[in-house]
C-alpha cells in the first residue's frame, strides 16, 4: 500500500471491512444468538453504508481522485483501486440504500426464521454482506480484473439472495434465469474490456484510457459494454430476468437490487463509454436513446398489467432504467455532435434520475416489504384498505408513488424535467434524423410518465385504499419502528432531492468535469432557489417555491374553510340504494388496468380465462365465476424461448454422438485420425 492514500479511499476500505464484519457476524452467530445476528450484522452494515456515503461524499465534494494498489491478483497485475467523483457518486447512492436497509432489516428478516418455511438466517446475512461488498469494491476498481471479480461477485451473491427461499419453484427458476443472464452479460462485458486491453496493452483502466481505438473497434467495445451492462440494468430486451428475480427476493434485497444493483450497470456504461473508451460518438447515443425509449415505454406498459406488487415495481425499474438511458443517449448524441454543454445536461439528468430512482424504488420495495411482512400478500387483489391499518407505511409509500410518477415537488420530477429540457434542445443539432427522433423520444417519455402515474394510482389505490379484501389484510398492523425509519429516511431524501435540485446539481459538477470536462454553471447561477439548466430565459423551475406554495394553500385552505364549520359527520358511502357495499364490489387491479389493456392491445400477449362453476341440475345455475387475465412478455416468447429451444434441440440432437456402441466410437477415432493424416500430408 502506498503511503499517501487519501482519506476517502480509507473510508471506503473501512466500509468494505464493516461489510465483511457484518457477514462474519451473521456467519458466526449461527444458532445461539439470533438477536446478535440481527443487531450485530445490521449494525456493521449500517457502518458500512455510512462509510460508503462518507467516502463517496468526500470525493464528490472535494473533487478528489485517489488511487491505490494491493499486492493481490495476478503476478503482473496488482489490484488497482481508485475513487473518483463518479464512483463517489455511486458510492453515496449505494451507501444510502445500505443505511436504509440496515435500519429496516433487523425487524424484517426476523420473519424468515419463523414459521413452517423457516430458513436459516446466516446465509441471508452473509450473502447480503458479500453482495454489498461486491458493489462497493466494484465501484472503486481501477482495473478490469478487479472490476470483473467484484462485478461477478455481486451477481453471484444476488443469485443466492434471490434463491434464498428456495422451496418455491418460482424462486429457483427466477434465480436461474437471473444468474444465466448475469453471467452471459458479464462475459460480454469482459469482451469489451478485452478489446480495450488489446489496444491499450494492459488491463488497468489507465492503460485502457490511453488506448487508441479505431472507430470500428471503439464501437464494438461500446456495443459489448452496453449489452453487458444493459443486461444487468434490465434494459429491453435483456430485461426478462428482472421481473422474475426482484419479486421473489426478500424485500430489503429487492430494494437493494432494484435501487443499487441495476444502477451498477449504469455506472458501467458511463464508466466505459465516457471514461475508458472516450470520444463518445453520436451513433452510440442514438442506440442508447432508442433502447432507452423502448425500455421505458414497455417497462411501464408491462408494469400496468401486473397485479403482484413487487413484480409491478420490478417492471417499473425497467421503465426507469429506460429513462436514465434516454438521458444518457441524449447526452451522447450531444457530445458526439460537439455540444458539450448540452451533453453535460443530459448526463446530469441521467445521473440525477439514477440516484432518484434508487431512492424512490428503494422506498417502494421497502414499503411492499412492509405490506408483505404484515399481510403475507404480494397480490394487489388481496390487499386493500391498508391506509387505515398501516397509516405511516401508507404515507411513506405514497411519497414513493408520487416521486416515481414524476410529480412535483418530489425528486422524480426534477430529473424527468431535466431530461425533457435536454430533449428540447434537439434543434441545436445539424442532423435532420436526430432532430426528428429526439422529439419523438420526448413524447414517449411523456407517455411513459403519464402511464407511470396511472400505474401508481393503481398500485397505491388498490393496495392501500378502499376496503380490505382478505381477512388477514383487515387484521394488519403498523410495522415496527425500525422498518419505518428505513423507509422514512428514503422518503425524506426523495423530498429533499426534489426540493433542492440546484444544490444537488452543484454537487455533481465534479463528475461532469471528470467525464466531459464541462459543468453546468448556468444551472446554479441563479442561486439555490432557481434551477435554470440552460438559462433563465429558456427554462426555470423553483422547487422550493412549489413546495411552499402547496403547503401554504393546504394550510390556509384548511384554516379558512374549517373555521366555524360544523363538525364532520360520517355516513355510508353512496350505494345507489341497493344496500351496503362489500369489498368485492371494488375495482380490482385487473379491472383498473382494463381500459389501458384495450388501448394498447398487442403490446402483450393476453390470455383471458373465465372459469364458470355451475350447479348440476335440470337447469344449470352458475354459482361462481372467476375471471383471470394473464399477460405474457413478447420478449420472452419471441426472443428467449426460441433461443432456449434451439439450445435444447441442439443438445437433443447432439446425443447421436454418444450412441453407446463401441464401434461407432472407434469409427470416430479412426476417422479423426485419417482426417488429420490427410490434412497434414
Amino acid at each position: 500500500m502506498s503511503a499517501t492514500i487519501g482519506t476517502p479511499l480509507l473510508l471506503a476500505y473501512g466500509a468494505a471491512v464493516c461489510t465483511l464484519l457484518s457477514g462474519a457476524v451473521s456467519l458466526l452467530a449461527v444458532r445461539r444468538h439470533p438477536d446478535f445476528l440481527h443487531f450485530g450484522s445490521f449494525l456493521f452494515l449500517f457502518c458500512s453504508g455510512a462509510g460508503s456515503i462518507g467516502a463517496g461524499g468526500w470525493t464528490l465534494l472535494a473533487n478528489l481522485t485517489v488511487t491505490d494498489r494491493f499486492q493481490l491478483g495476478l503476478p503482473w497485475l496488482d489490484w488497482h483501486l481508485r475513487i473518483d467523483p463518479l464512483s463517489g457518486f455511486f458510492l453515496v447512492l449505494l451507501g444510502t440504500l445500505v443505511v436504509a436497509i440496515s435500519l429496516y432489516g433487523p425487524s424484517y428478516t426476523r420473519e424468515f426464521g419463523r414459521g413452517k418455511a423457516a430458513q436459516p438466517l446466516p446465509p441471508l446475512g452473509v450473502f447480503t454482506a458479500l453482495f454489498v461488498l461486491g458493489m462497493q469494491m466494484m465501484l472503486v476498481a481501477d482495473d478490469a480484473l478487479v472490476f470483473m471479480i467484484f462485478w461477478e461477485m455481486m451477481s453471484l451473491c444476488g443469485y443466492f439472495l434471490v434463491v434464498y427461499q428456495h422451496q418455491h419453484a418460482a424462486n429457483r427458476h427466477a434465480a436461474f434465469l437471473y444468474l444465466l443472464l448475469a453471467h452471459v452479460g458479464a462475459l460480454v462485458i469482459l469482451l469489451s474490456f478485452g478489446v480495450l486491453a488489446a489496444f491499450g496493452g494492459g488491463l488497468t483502466f489507465d492503460q485502457m484510457r490511453a488506448a487508441k481505438l479505431s472507430p470500428l473497434w471503439a464501437t464494438i467495445a461500446f456495443g459489448c459494454a452496453f449489452a453487458g451492462f444493459g443486461t444487468k440494468s434490465g434494459m429491453v430486451p435483456l430485461h426478462v430476468w428482472l421481473p422474475d428475480a426482484h419479486p421473489v427476493a426478500p424485500s430489503h434485497i429487492s430494494a437493494l437490487m432494484s435501487g443499487a444493483m441495476i444502477k451498477m450497470g449504469i455506472y458501467g456504461i458511463v464508466r466505459l463509454s465516457y471514461d475508458l473508451i472516450g470520444n463518445v460518438r453520436w451513433e452510440w447515443g442514438m442506440v442508447v436513446l432508442i433502447v432507452g425509449t423502448a425500455s421505458s415505454l414497455l417497462g411501464v406498459l408491462y408494469a400496468l398489467m401486473q397485479h403482484d406488487l413487487k413484480r409491478l415495481l420490478a417492471y417499473h425499474s425497467i421503465e426507469n432504467i429506460g429513462i436514465i438511458l434516454m438521458g444518457l443517449g441524449l447526452s451522447m448524441i450531444f457530445i458526439g455532435s460537439g455540444h458539450k454543454m448540452l451533453g453535460t445536461l443530459g448526463l446530469v439528468a441521467a445521473l440525477y434520475h439514477t440516484i432518484n430512482h434508487a431512492l424512490f424504488k428503494g422506498l417502494l420495495f421497502l414499503g411492499a416489504g412492509a405490506v408483505l411482512y404484515r399481510t403475507h400478500a404480494r397480490d394487489l387483489d388481496q390487499m386493500g384498505g391498508l391506509i387505515h391499518r398501516m397509516p405511516i407505511t401508507a404515507f411513506l409509500f405514497l411519497v414513493g408513488c408520487v416521486a416515481i410518477s414524476a410529480l412535483p415537488p418530489f425528486n422524480g420530477f426534477v430529473s424527468e424535467w431535466l431530461t425533457f429540457q435536454t430533449a428540447l434542445q434537439g434543434p441545436a443539432l445539424k442532423d435532420g434524423l436526430l432532430r426528428t427522433m429526439i422529439p419523438i423520444a420526448a413524447a414517449m417519455l411523456a407517455l411513459t410518465g403519464a402511464l407511470a402515474a396511472a400505474c401508481f394510482v393503481k398500485a397505491f389505490g388498490i393496495a392501500f385504499l378502499g376496503q380490505p379484501r382478505t381477512r388477514r389484510v383487515a387484521r394488519a398492523r403498523e410495522v415496527p419502528v425500525g422498518m419505518l425509519a428505513g423507509m422514512g429516511l428514503l422518503a425524506l431524501l426523495c423530498l429533499l432531492l426534489g426540493v433542492l435540485p440546484t444544490t444537488m446539481i452543484e454537487a455533481m459538477a465534479p463528475i461532469t468535469q471528470l467525464l466531459v470536462h464541462d459543468a453546468l454553471p448556468s444551472a446554479t447561477a441563479q442561486g439555490w432557489l432557481w434551477l435554470t439548466p440552460i438559462s433563465p430565459q429558456v427554462a426555470s423551475y423553483s422547487a422550493p417555491f412549489v413546495l411552499v406554495a402547496i403547503i401554504l394553500v393546504f394550510g390556509l385552505g384548511r384554516l379558512i374553510l374549517k373555521r366555524g364549520a360544523e363538525p364532520t359527520r360520517r355516513a355510508d358511502a353512496w350505494d345507489c340504494g341497493f344496500g351496503h357495499l362489500t369489498q368485492r364490489m371494488q375495482y380490482t387491479s385487473t379491472a383498473f388496468s382494463q381500459p389501458i389493456r384495450r388501448v394498447f392491445r398487442g403490446v402483450w400477449k393476453v390470455e383471458e380465462h373465465i372459469e364458470t362453476l355451475a350447479d348440476a341440475g335440470s337447469i344449470p345455475r352458475v354459482t361462481s365465476l372467476h375471471y383471470s387475465v394473464h399477460t405474457h412478455d413478447w420478449a420472452w416468447l419471441k426472443g428467449y424461448l426460441p433461443i432456449g429451444r434451439t439450445v435444447l434441440a441442439a443438445a437433443n440432437r447432439i446425443g447421436f454422438i454418444q450412441t453407446g456402441n463401441i464401434h461407432t466410437y472407434l469409427k470416430f477415432s479412426f476417422v479423426t485420425l485419417l482426417t488429420f493424416l490427410w490434412i497434414v500430408s
Binding site: P75, I149, E152, A169, L179, V184, L187, A651, Q658
Partner: protein, 489 residues
C-alpha cells in the same frame, strides 16, 4: 536416492502393501498415510526445485522443471485428499454391499498404483516411459471403473479399455515416429534420443514432415485420454460407473496428465515446425470439445456423468488455450489446469456424498440437499459456482485470461467461446439447482461425510482467485516461457 524417486516409490510400495492388506478396516488409513507421505515427499521435492531450479536425475531418467513440478505436487495433493474422502465413502459402499472385501483390496492397491503411474508419467524425462505411464494409468483404472461389477460398470470399463487402448496405441506410433526423427538427426545407437531434454534442445533440427505425422498420432492418442471430442466417448461412461473417488482422480488428475503429455509434445513440434499447425489443430479440437460438451450437459440424467462432461468442456478450453499459444493464453491454461483439477475433484467428492445421501445418481431423484445436509448442499453449490467460472474462485481468473488472450489474437473466436460458456452454465445450473434446493424427499437422512477435502480444495481455489502465491506464479511463468518462449509479465 533423490526426493523424486522417493515420491515415486512411496505409492508403488504403498500399492504393494495394500495389495496385501487392502481389505482390512485399517486399509483406509494406510491409504491416507501413503497419500500423506507421497504428498510430503512431493512437497519436499518441490521445495528443492523451488530453491535450485529444474532438476535432472543422475540417470537422466527423470526431469522436473517448472511445468511438471506443480503438477506432481497437485497430483500428490489431490491423491491425498481423495484418499481422505475415500475412507468413509468406501466404508459406506462396503456396508451397502456394493463392494466385497476382495474388491476393496483391489481398489486400494490400484488406487496407489494409479497415482504411481501418473507421477511416473509426469516426472519422467523419457517419452517412451511417459507413454508407459499413461498406459499403466489406463490399466490400473480399468479395474477401478469395473469395481462394482454391474453390467453398466463392465460395459463402461470395456469401452474405456478399448478406446483408451487404441488411443494410446496411436500415441505409441507417434512416439516411434518421434524417435525416428530423432534418430535421423542424431544417428542410430544413442540411447538418449528419446529423452525429452535432449529432444527439446535439438527440436529445431528434426524433420518437419515426420514430426507433423508424429504429432497427429500423438494428438489423437493422448487426445483420447484428455477426452477431446470426438474421442471422448469413454469418458462419461467411465466417470459415471466407477466409484466416486476414482472419478475424482480421473477427472482431476488423469486428464491433466494426458494434457501434460500433449503439451510436452507440442513444445517439440513447435520447436521443429515453426508453424502454427499444432496450435491450430489443438484449438479446433479444444473449441469443438468445449461447445459439444456444453450441449451435452443439458441432456444428462446422471449427476456424475454431467460433471464428467463438464470436465470435457474444461479440458477443451485448456487445450484451446494451449493451442492458442500466446504467453497470456498459456499462463491461463496452466492456471486453469490447476484450478479445474482442484475444483472438479472437490465436486466429485461432494457428489459422491450426495449420491450416497440420496441413494442414487439420478439427478431427478436427488433433492433438497441443502436442507438435509447443508454441508453437502453448499459444497456442491459452491463447487458448481466455482467450476462455472464465478469469481472470486480461481477458475474465473483463468477463464478471464483465456478470454482476454482470445480477444487479442482471435477476436472472432470469442463469440463461440461466449456462447459455449453460456450454454455450459445453463446446463450445469439447471440440474444443480434442483438437486441442491427445494424440499427433500421424506425420510432423507444425512450421511457420514468428511467435507474437509472439499473445504480445503475450495479454499485453495478461492486463494488462487484472489492472489496467486509467488512461487506458483513463478512456476507458471517459467513454464509459460518454456512453452511459448515469452513471458506474460
Amino acid at each position: 536416492m533423490t526426493l523424486l524417486e522417493i515420491t515415486l516409490l512411496i505409492p508403488l510400495l504403498g500399492g504393494l502393501l495394500l495389495a496385501l492388506v487392502g481389505h482390512r478396516p485399517i486399509a483406509g488409513w494406510i491409504n491416507i498415510a501413503v497419500g500423506v507421505m507421497t504428498f510430503g515427499a512431493a512437497l519436499a521435492m518441490a521445495l528443492e526445485v523451488l530453491d535450485h531450479g529444474p532438476q535432472l536425475s543422475p540417470s537422466r531418467m527423470f526431469y522436473i522443471d517448472a511445468f511438471n513440478v506443480y503438477l506432481v505436487v497437485l497430483t500428490a495433493f489431490v491423491g491425498l485428499t481423495t484418499s481422505i474422502f475415500s475412507r468413509p465413502y468406501m466404508r459406506h459402499e462396503v456396508e451397502r454391499g456394493r463392494v466385497t472385501s476382495r474388491r476393496l483390496r483391489l481398489y486400494h492397491a490400484m488406487y496407489q498404483c494409479f497415482l504411481f503411474s501418473m507421477l511416473l508419467a509426469l516426472s519422467t524425462n523419457n517419452l517412451g516411459i511417459l507413454w508407459i505411464g499413461m498406459e499403466l494409468a489406463t490399466l490400473t483404472t480399468v479395474l477401478l471403473v469395473s469395481l462394482y461389477r454391474t453390467p453398466e460398470a463392465i460395459e463402461a470399463a470395456w469401452k474405456y479399455f478399448i478406446l483408451c487402448g487404441v488411443g494410446i496405441a496411436q500415441a505409441l506410433f507417434g512416439t516411434v515416429l518421434i524417435y525416428f526423427a530423432a534418430e535421423t538427426k542424431f544417428g542410430a545407437g544413442r540411447d538418449d534420443t528419446l529423452l525429452w531434454t535432449v529432444l527439446h534442445e535439438s527440436a529445431g533440427g528434426m524433420d518437419p514432415a515426420v514430426i507433423t505425422l508424429a504429432f497427429v498420432f500423438l494428438l489423437v492418442g493422448y487426445g483420447t485420454k484428455v477426452g477431446l471430442v470426438p474421442l471422448h466417448n469413454w469418458l462419461p461412461d467411465a466417470h459415471s460407473e466407477g466409484p466416486t473417488p476414482m472419478s475424482a482422480v480421473l477427472s482431476g488428475l488423469l486428464l491433466n496428465v494426458a494434457l501434460y503429455a500433449l503439451v510436452r509434445v507440442k513444445m517439440l513440434v513447435d520447436g521443429s515446425l515453426h508453424t502454427n499447425l499444432a496450435g491450430n489443430l489443438m484449438m479446433g479440437f479444444g473449441l469443438l470439445s468445449f461447445t459439444v460438451a456444453g450441449l451435452f450437459l443439458h441432456r444428462q440424467h446422471d449427476v456424475k456423468r454431467m460433471f464428467s462432461y463438464s470436465s470435457i468442456e474444461h479440458m477443451g478450453l485448456i487445450t484451446f488455450g494451449f493451442g492458442m499459444g500466446g504467453p497470456l493464453a498459456t499462463f491461463g491454461a496452466l492456471l486453469h489446469m490447476t484450478v479445474h483439477s482442484l475444483t472438479k475433484s472437490a465436486i466429485f467428492i461432494t457428489v459422491g456424498h450426495a449420491c450416497q445421501l440420496a441413494g442414487t445418481q439420478r439427478i431427478t431423484q436427488i433433492r433438497g440437499l441443502i436442507r438435509t445436509q447443508p454441508a453437502i448442499g453448499w459444497g456442491l453449490l459452491l463447487g458448481t459456482v466455482a467450476i462455472a467460472g464465478f469469481p472470486p474462485f480461481g477458475v474465473f481468473i483463468s477463464e478471464f485470461l483465456l478470454l482476454m488472450a482470445t480477444m487479442k489474437t482471435w477476436p472472432w473466436l470469442t463469440i463461440p467461446l461466449l456462447a459455449g460458456f453460456g450454454v455450459a452454465f445453463g446446463g450445469l445450473f439447471r440440474h444443480m439447482q434442483q438437486m441442491v434446493f427445494g424440499e427433500p424427499p421424506p425420510g432423507q437422512k444425512p450421511v457420514e461425510a468428511n467435507m474437509l477435502p472439499v473445504v480445503v480444495h475450495l479454499l485453495l481455489v478461492l486463494w488462487l482467485g484472489l492472489a496467486i502465491p509467488g512461487f506458483l506464479s513463478r512456476w507458471f511463468e517459467q513454464a509459460t516461457v518454456l512453452i511459448t518462449g515469452a513471458s506474460p509479465l
